[in-house]
Amino acid sequence: MPGDAHNIFQLELDLLARCEALARDAAFQDNPLLPCYQELTSAYRKLLRQTQHLIKISDQYQNALSACAEEMTTLSQVDALTQLANRRALQQHLDTQWRLHRRDGKSLAILMIDIDHFKTFNDAYGHLQGDACLRAVADAIQKSLLRTGDFAARYGGDEFVAVLPSTGPSDAATVARRIVANVKALRLVHAASPVAAMVTVSAGFAATVPTAIDGATALLREADRALYRAKLAGSDQALASEPLPEIP
């Protein structure tokens, strides 16, 4: 029997072939132990077949389990409503990016985005419409992030966060303003909003070259403060945490 390099049981099959050839050998035919030898050979063949089945079963269970584990990972990282990354995934991503940017001495930017008067929207149109609004805004945010590596997450409620790698304050401002404009362009009616006739968002952004080992949370807080400033300034706009230094 020619050896098959792709059969993991080729060694066993070769042994069996030799055993069976031996049992057919003329010199062996008068041996009183021949029947016993044949019985052992066929018992070995049966056990080998079982082992082959066993391995097939185990492989299939392992594949099913690893597919299951993959799905669990996805479920634990994705926000079910908006399909954006969830807060847990954001935290992991942010920590990694913080470390990488600290190592490379590059600026990392964070945007925090919040729907203006979302509670009023929910009260006026109901929670199903509220969910549809969250999905539409999430989609607009995602589509406003044009570079690979840009990352959007649902932070909770009607708050979203974007993490922009290798991005300084002025580029962060551009992206934040684009998000504000793109959400407004959806023209989702929000009659009860004191800001505009349609759904709007406010955004705060902060960018820094990381120095502290664990400053990611501080940067997030800074973006949150900026968001607060944008709300105070009348909403439907993007602001930095502190006024950008004026270029002379």
Binding site: K46, R49, Q50, H53, K56, I57, S58, Q60, Y61, A64
Partner: protein, 127 residues
Amino acid sequence: MDRLTIAPTKSTPDIRFDPDSGQLSMRGESFPENAAKFYAPLFAAIDAFAANPAAPALCVDLEMIYLNSSSSKIFFNLFDQLEKIAAAGHPVTVNWRYSAENDTAQTCGEEFQEDANHVVFNLIEID
């Protein structure tokens, strides 16, 4: 004869064997710490059952969702034991039940079925 009842746990199946009616059922998942030790009472009970010439036909109902490798090997041993009983002239039926969504349980049953010559081995899809 004594019934054998083993309550299910997170890692072991529910096992019920009534030698008087010849009904054996196992349901659940199987990944015990020591598979040989866990299944030893079942093998002993089946041996005792087979030793009784007045024993009724044996009907084995299985609904196993997950088997680890050791348990799969145990099931091959179990089916060997059942084959011997059936080969000796005692009727044995195995019903391997699997959920339509559980492809692996189906494959598993098909693999076991291949070795059945004297045992009547039925694959039964359940909802």
